[in-house]
Amino acid sequence: MMKILTFALVLRRMSALTNVFMLCQRLGGTMTYISAADGRANIVVSAPQRSAHRFAPQLRRIMDVLELIELHAAGVNGSVRASDAEPVRCRA
């Protein structure tokens, strides 16, 4: 099972994209879309369901990632920040 993850990133240096690519690949993800310019990047990753929860926190750990917002589909009219979404980490 794959899960589509969408991230908006602010980067201190564009070279940090290399780290972003490497990490996504290491976690088993496939980059399906990227647009980046002037210290900003939007990426879409197809991630294995079992490791999808690891992407955002580990991407945030990259030193030159200044800001990372995980976008979740919220109907046709917009999106919500990851922090507002239902946490994926809690178990009953």
Binding site: T18, N19, H53, P57
Partner: protein, 560 residues
């Protein structure tokens, strides 16, 4: 201030950060830096291999909490650091690697000894830099030192082309205490701590698992007070050994694959795990579905990426452990918990599982008994460094250090060859402490050239070589899981390590008679100068208890 060369900027930054020692190995691209090191405030220790230099810097950092520094040249010098960098990354050790690089104009031409080392180590450092302009160097050095030592520590690498080391800059050394987007000391959520406290109060059978984060946070004393107040049984991971005081009645010992029976069974049976500064390594958890099946999880860690990475947390506290425990102690004072002494006694009564583990033939030296005798003799004060393998697990099961910085070994990466050079680093960091290196015959031979460093610096190290003429842990797996088909593990042609040590100028002892264990240990431990004890052990002794790969912690095998 007059213009400074790039090399002088590097040394200035080290001195400003309080660094007075670096390990390394020179070469062409880094010669300008070595020239400036002469007569500087930074003493340089020449190792016999770059890998040993970084392991020594690592051992220095682990045993002291200070920044470890190593220097290497470009190309092979830099790539020889890679295993050590990954070792430091896996165990969160603050190590600064400085590498020379070919001159800027040659970068990208496949020049002699050119390697893109900052690219190579991207995935195994907190951050790496290739500095192309000398004016950037003061800021990069400051950032590198800050990043390595702050938050969850880790290795960093600064790669400096030779012309940048030579070029002059008017920029002076700076100190960095903050970086955009980097929050090394996150403010934890007090509400989560309240929830954790309520879970602890409601628990009947809590177990604390404490890891390397406790010692790194400087939380050891506060953690021990928390233990005394709650009497929660404590399991210490390989990186957390020494966190619970050696006399704490609820010291369960190491959990996991070669963990003690009481630690593994307490975790399997508990209703609450309080995880402090651990990352739930697979060697600790065993089969995840069977890990603490009835337990709720409180996870405290400074690194948000660790929380719920492996085991989902019911309560997640993202913060510095010392700060969290400070608040938790205040809570305990205002709203005490009923101490868990009864449960602690029940958990401890299960026993360690080591009593049935000995499998040595009569007339041979049982290395586990030798370790018991040794630790009875030397107590909790010495620093103990190990290599990787059976001897490491036997030591981890038995060692009783009085502080987490007194047990040094490669946990996450399991790097053979780490033992001797890391002990060298620990000895430099703690010149007035007794330092013991316990090594196996396999790992020792990966870095034994450092006996020359031991002799040259006259380090009063004690080196214990467990020689069972096998790659013992691999042989054990082949015995247990591959129908005793022993492939590429035989080391029956090992040299006489005592003679070898003698050639290097160390004191040397050999032990093969079980009747001479105590007398030989005494002579070796109390002699002057560095000394090696070559202990000839039975070939077939296995490490128990053992949780087979894929099994749950409760499914331990305790003997052959």
């Amino acid at each position: 201030m007059a213009d400074r060369s790039g090399s002088q900027v590097v040394v200035d930054a080290l001195v400003q950060a309080g660094v007075d020692l670096a390990f390394g190995y020179p070469g062409g691209a880094v010669l300008p830096l070595y020239d400036v090191l002469l007569g500087s405030g930074v003493r340089h220790i020449l190792t016999r291999h770059e890998q040993s230099a970084i392991h020594a810097a690592d051992g220095y950092a682990r045993s002291s909490g200070r920044l470890g520094v190593c220097i290497a040249t470009s190309g092979p010098g830099a790539t020889n650091l890679v295993t050590g960098i990954c070792t430091a990354m896996m165990d969160s050790t603050p190590v600064l690697c400085i590498t020379g690089q070919v001159p800027s104009r040659l970068i990208g031409t496949d020049a002699f000894q050119e390697t893109d080392v900052s690219g190579v180590v991207t995935g195994i450092t907190k951050q790496s830099w290739l500095v192309r302009n000398v004016d950037e160097l003061p800021q990069v050095m400051a950032e590198a030192i800050f990043i390595a030592t702050s938050g969850r520590p880790g290795p960093v690498l600064v790669d400096i082309p030779k012309d940048v080391l030579v070029a002059s800059t008017g920029k002076t050394s700076v100190q960095t205490t903050s970086l955009p987007g980097y929050d090394p000391m996150p403010d934890f959520d007090g509400n989560e701590l309240d929830r954790a406290h309520r879970l602890l109060k409601a628990s009947k059978r809590p177990v604390c698992i404490v890891g390397g984060g406790c010692g790194m946070s400087g939380a050891t004393e506060r953690f021990r007070r928390w233990c005394a107040a709650t009497q929660v049984p404590v399991a210490t991971t390989l990186m957390g050994i020494g966190c619970a005081g050696p006399d704490y009645a609820g010291r369960l010992g190491m959990p996991g694959m070669h963990g003690l029976r009481r630690a593994n069974l307490a975790i399997s049976d508990c209703d609450l795990i309080i995880a402090m500064g651990i990352r739930f390594d697979d060697r600790v958890t065993g089969h995840l579905e069977r890990f603490a099946p009835d337990a709720r999880i409180i996870h405290i860690d400074i690194d948000a990426a660790e929380i719920s990475k492996i085991v989902p947390a019911n309560v997640a506290i993202n913060g510095d452990l010392d700060a969290v425990l400070l608040e938790w102690m205040l809570l305990l004072e205002s709203d005490p918990v009923e101490p868990f002494g009864r449960w602690q006694r029940e958990a401890m009564a299960v026993g360690d599982g080591l009593e049935t583990a000995s499998a040595a033939d009569s007339g041979t030296i049982d290395f586990t008994e030798l370790l018991d005798s040794l630790f009875d003799m030397i107590g909790s004060a010495p620093i103990v460094a190990t290599d990787v393998g059976q001897h490491q697990m036997w030591t981890a099961q038995r060692v009783r250090p009085d502080h987490p910085r007194k047990f040094v070994c490669s946990g996450g990466l399991g790097t053979m060859g780490f033992g001797l050079p890391s002990a060298i680093g620990a000895q430099f960091a703690n010149p007035n402490e007794k330092v013991l290196a316990v090594v196996g015959d396999g790992g020792f031979q990966m870095t034994l050239a450092e006996l020359a460093t031991v002799r040259r610096c006259n380090l009063p190290l004690r080196i214990l070589v467990m020689d069972n003429k096998y790659l013992g842990l691999v042989r054990q797996w082949q015995e247990m899981f591959f129908d005793q088909r022993y492939s590429a593990v035989d080391m029956s042609d090992n040299p006489d390590f005592a003679r070898l040590a003698g050639v290097y100028g160390l004191g040397a002892f050999t032990l093969s008679d079980p009747n001479e264990v105590n007398s030989t240990l005494q002579k070796w431990w109390h002699c002057d100068g560095p000394a090696l004890l070559h202990c000839i052990c039975p070939t077939q002794q296995n490490v128990f208890p053992m949780v087979p790969a894929g099994a749950g912690l409760g499914d331990m095998v305790e003997s052959k």
